[in-house]
């Protein structure tokens, strides 16, 4: 590295002149790199899409079908390719689902742009036309959409299962889809019906069992054991729960201190004092009636010692230690209690109440469940089970996508057909629209329309169908006015996809189109790559 920097100043004297003739080459190289990224994830689109196995630098193996995750782990270096990775990330943030679709659309658009560029159309003209086409596309999609009521649980479940069907865990979609819907609906605040904070849904993963055992817990789940030292209780009915942020251990001051022991008898005294000190704290806790303690992890000193655990067990107080500081907010919100940062403030009104706290053995580990919480906050916990870590991780990602889908529906209450139907309809309508436009614009919009056919084409291809036959058939059906005709991958034919219950939120489709266009326009406008400090 040092050699490289040392060599830099000398060579740059002659290299400061950059030949601008390479503009075209740069643009082509960018488009090619971006398309290579798009091609990498293309095969994982749709319900019959394939998974990718990624082995990361530290030897970890991930199997996934989620576009955002694949791209995130692919360490691309080329700047334009990086932009596609970012694109999928933003789709993840905006809609949570359709992360593969957005990249595939961008790839197809770039392919068409390359053609237009070789025809000698100025990049800014293409860019402007793409923008127009995408605004029009959003209008078309909105016109196609079906409004939805939140009370319509069936439709919500349908769209969640559409999202889940393309994942590894698709066979469990009947279980996971209602689960996703219920968990999102349970955290919707009636005061702000459009807002869903997914952080109010906690996902706990536990190895063992199968995905079938995944469950929604009305309450809290800790992926931890209750403390077993000295035979403390592991099951507590009518629990009074305290979340504490202080430590039950011998005192430690912030300034450095040392205890000077000058003779043997003092040692005994110190040991006794330590015991008394801890006992005093525990008595205070006991007097408030608290019988379950959640103790925040401490980096400065031991949160609990063997001695204090022993006394707590004697006092019949159940202890769960090493709770992360980040989780405290979620826990206090759920339990409807306040964290206690000092023993002096340990008062009964700060406690949370639950009908039952118990330790349950699951597979090879144990978890602690808190159920029957009094005045529970608007939170919910999902416990994911699976036979191996890879499945669990993938199930978590899939569930996250499904949750996002439901969230999209909560914030924008429109549904649209899936299975390639909206894309082919867009392609048809934009194609017709391009004919009334003048000049280059019409030409570019037509290319945009053609690019959108990539989604049904890829869906069919991944499902092992004949893509050309399927896409032409689809076009035909749409031309006859069946705007909801789409690919039914299970039957391997074209049906009215709305009747097949394959639906997705409008927001996913619209944001995929607008984000992909925005990214493509950005790539088009680049004519040089400059190396800088």
């Amino acid at each position: 590295m040092a050699a490289a920097t040392a060599a830099q100043p000398r060579s740059s004297k002659t290299e400061s002149y950059v030949d601008n003739k390479r503009k075209e080459d740069i643009r082509q190289a960018n488009i090619k790199a971006a398309r290579a990224v798009a091609d990498a994830v293309r095969t994982s689109l749709g319900p019959k899409g394939m998974d990718k196995m990624i082995s990361t630098a530290n030897g970890e193996v991930i199997i996934t079908n989620d576009g955002a995750t694949i791209l995130n782990k692919m360490e691309v270096l080329q700047p334009a390719a990086k932009m596609l990775v970012d694109l999928s990330k933003s789709q993840d943030a905006a809609a949570g689902d359709g992360t593969t679709t957005v990249v595939v659309i961008a790839g197809a658009l770039l392919k068409q742009c390359l053609l237009l560029l070789t025809n000698g159309i100025h990049p800014t003209v293409i860019s402007d036309s793409l923008h127009k086409a995408s605004t029009k596309a959003v209008d078309v999609l909105t016109a196609m959409a079906v409004p939805l009521e939140l009370s319509d649980r069936e439709s919500l479940i349908k769209s969640a299962s559409t999202s889940l069907n393309s994942k590894v865990v698709s066979q469990y979609s009947t279980l996971l889809a209602p689960l996703a819907v219920d968990s999102v609906l349970s955290v919707v605040d009636p005061a702000k019906p459009d807002m869903v904070d997914l952080r109010d849904i906690k996902i706990v993963k536990k190895l063992g069992g199968t995905v079938d055992d995944t469950e929604l817990v009305k309450g809290l789940v800790f992926d931890k054991k209750a403390s077993h030292a000295a035979g403390g209780p592991t099951r507590m009915e009518n629990a009074k729960i305290a979340v504490i942020q202080f430590q039950i251990s011998p005192p430690k001051t912030d300034i450095e201190q040392s205890i000077v022991v000058s003779d043997y008898t003092q040692m005994d005294r110190i040991l006794k004092e330590e015991r008394n000190y801890i006992l005093g704290m525990i008595k205070k806790i006991k007097t408030t009636g608290c019988n379950v303690l959640l103790i925040q992890k401490s980096i400065l000193r031991d949160a609990v010692t063997d001695l204090s655990l022993h006394y707590l067990a004697k006092a019949k107080i159940m202890v769960i230690k090493d709770v992360e500081r980040d989780d405290i907010e979620f826990i206090t919100k759920t339990l409807n209690c306040l964290p206690i940062a000092n023993i002096e403030h340990f008062r009964a009104e700060k406690l949370g109440h639950a009908a039952l706290v118990e330790e349950v053995s699951l597979g090879d580990g144990k978890i602690v469940k808190v159920t029957g919480i009094k005045d529970m906050g608007r939170t919910t916990t999902v416990l994911i089970r699976g036979s191996n870590q890879l499945v669990i991780d993938e199930a978590e990602r899939s569930l996250h996508d499904a949750l996002c889908v439901v969230r999209c529906l909560v914030s924008k209450r429109f549904l649209i057909a899936g299975g390639g139907a909206p894309e082919i309809e867009l392609s048809r309508q934009l194609g017709a629209w391009s004919k009334v436009l003048h000049g280059m614009e019409g030409y570019c919009v037509r290319s945009f329309a053609e690019a959108l056919e990539v989604v049904p084409y890829t869906l069919a291809e991944n499902a092992g169908l004949n893509p050309i036959a399927i896409v032409t058939e689809l076009r035909n059906r749409h031309a006859q006015g069946e705007i909801n005709a789409g690919i039914n991958v299970r039957k391997g034919q074209i049906t009215n996809i709305l009747e097949e219950n394959v639906v997705q939120p409008l927001l996913v489709s619209t944001s995929a189109i607008t984000l992909a266009t925005e990214c493509v326009r950005m790539i088009l406008k680049i004519d040089d790559i400059v190396n800088v400090r």
Binding site: A6, S12, N20, D86, E518, V530
Partner: protein
């Protein structure tokens, strides 16, 4: 005996022709690099960092490109400096200034080749610049008196500035945002009061202007999420522990209970501190440093909203807009200035929760929340918006306005041409060259848009032969159009700064006849 070495090892010297040549080549290379970004159809560049992380920036902003370049050529560095100065002074026209300087040098190179002394060229350029400035002064429009018209001028300027940037598609939306934000400033050029927050997700159209201040932080546990008529104390103080900051200080005790006592005393100290803070009669406490669990709980008990770990920028701005002062000791409540605002509440943008202070003391303050597909888009949008804000705030002070689209350059070129005809002597060649350099700007704008520049510029020149013509290049339709009708305007201050600093830079480089490169400092090879 010939003197063998005057300079140190590795130091080099370039003289006369060679030195001048090196300057020209360097300056022209820089110009060529940025000139494709000029104008509404200018292209963007990817800046790929060679440092760690290989960060990528996509930008159209001349100043940003130039300041991140590796440059070794001294003349090129001069150009980068003027672009920086332009950025600091007026905020926009950073590309134009470099391109104009580069074109002036390109013309000068030809003149030098034709054996005209650099000093003659310089004095010609000076005359020409003066004449060009006067030409512009005669044609400026000043709508200071008419508020309605002035506002529309501002809108036009904002749109013109934004049209060459990534925000061009939504330029009306953003122009409105920028004008609203600048109008709130009421004439001050303190852009600090305008806060820009970037949040990925959504599209650019979802960006909005919010009156008030937004802090990207969370409210502490168990504290009120909404406060009306807030009294805010902004502080930079340690809320973990008040430590004795003497190195090696330690306490010796002889029993456990003493330790417990000390711990109790420490807690007590913290409690006192919190009490003191609360005694200021506040209901919102913002600290730059961490607030530990214990004081957080105390604040929660007192019903005070406490925000920890606000970044430095955040608290300074918060103090500014709420009219408070950053405090670090709390013994004299009278001497601490407390900020006020009407309402504090938690809002949600995208997936994140933020804290919103509305109805702040300083009415000028506002926040622009940018939304966009990715970080690249957001960063570039911020730069573009910043340019627009700078130009607008300058225009509010200097209300003179010009038309855009190559119009000012053509006006200047025409006057300068006239001058050339009147001036006797070699200088007239230099003055003519100046006019050619000015015409290069509309030429480049047309070239970047993929138009036939030779044809368009000739048409434009012909159109400008008439008195009081408003013709400029209409890039959208690819023809010569009336700039007043199309609503393309630029700030006079920006144009003037471009003209003057470009001329000065060119002059400076022309004067050089020797480049001495000092010996690089020897560095030990660290591997």
């Amino acid at each position: 005996m010939a003197i063998e070495k005057i300079l140190k090892d590795d130091a080099s010297e370039e003289k006369g022709e060679r030195a001048r040549m090196a300057s020209f080549v360097g300056a022209i290379a820089i110009t060529d690099l940025v000139k494709t970004t000029l104008g509404p159809k200018g292209m963007d560049k990817i800046l790929q960092s060679t440092g760690r992380g290989h960060g990528v920036t996509v930008t159209n902003d001349g100043a940003t490109i130039l300041k991140s370049l590796h440059i070794d050529n001294p003349a090129a560095k001069v150009l980068i400096d003027i672009s920086k100065v332009q950025d600091d002074e007026v905020g926009d026209g950073t590309t134009s200034v470099v391109v104009l300087a580069g074109e002036l040098l390109r013309e000068a190179e030809k003149l030098v080749a034709a054996k005209i002394h650099p000093m003659t060229i310089i004095s010609g350029y000076r005359m020409a610049a003066e004449c060009a400035r006067n030409a512009l002064l005669q044609r400026v429009v000043d709508n200071k008196e008419n508020a309605e018209k002035f506002k529309s001028d501002l809108m036009k300027i904002a749109m013109t500035t934004l049209s060459s940037k990534i925000l061009s598609q939504d330029k009306e939306h953003f122009a409105q945002l920028a004008v609203d934000a600048v109008m709130r400033l009421k004439g001050s050029t303190n852009l600090e009061a305008i806060q820009i927050i970037k949040k990925p997700g959504g599209s650019l159209m979802d960006s909005f202007l919010d009156e008030g201040f937004i802090l990207d932080k969370k409210i502490g546990l168990g504290q009120p999420k909404r406060i009306e008529n807030a009294k805010i104390l902004v502080a930079n103080t340690a809320m973990d522990t008040d430590k004795v900051k003497i190195y090696g200080a330690r306490v010796r005790v002889d029993s456990m209970s003493k330790v417990a006592e000390i711990e109790g005393a420490e807690k007590e100290k913290m409690r006192e501190k919190v009490q003191k803070i609360i005694a200021h009669g506040i209901n919102c406490f913002v600290n730059r440093q961490l607030i530990y669990n214990f004081p957080e709980e105390l604040f929660a008990d007192a019903g005070v909203l406490a925000i920890e770990h606000a970044d430095f920028d955040g608290i300074e701005r918060l103090a500014l807009v709420t009219g408070g002062e950053i405090a670090s000791t709390f013994d004299n409540p009278e001497s601490v200035k407390i900020g006020h605002c009407k309402l504090i509440e938690e809002i949600m943008i995208g997936e994140d929760k933020l804290i919103h202070f509305s109805g702040v003391e300083m009415g000028q303050a506002c926040t622009i929340v940018l939304r966009g597909a990715s970080h690249h888009v957001l960063d570039e949008a911020e730069r573009s918006l910043h340019d627009a804000l700078c130009v607008l705030s300058q225009t509010v002070n200097d209300t003179r306005v010009l038309l855009g689209g190559g119009w000012p350059e053509m006006v200047m070129a025409k006057e300068v041409d006239e001058l050339a005809r009147k001036t006797p002597g070699k200088k007239s060649h230099a003055i003519e060259a100046f006019s050619r350099a000015l015409v290069a700007i509309p030429t480049i704008i047309a070239d970047n848009a993929g138009l036939d520049s030779a044809d368009l510029v000739a048409q434009l020149r012909a159109a400008h032969h008439k008195e009081g013509c408003n013709a400029g290049i209409d890039v959208i339709s690819g023809s010569v159009g009336d700039m007043a009708e199309l609503g393309i305007s630029e700030s006079f201050k920006v144009k003037q700064a471009v003209l003057l600093s470009a001329t000065e830079a060119a002059e400076m480089i022309l004067r050089v006849d020797e480049i001495i490169t000092c010996a690089p400092r020897q560095r030990e090879d660290r591997m």
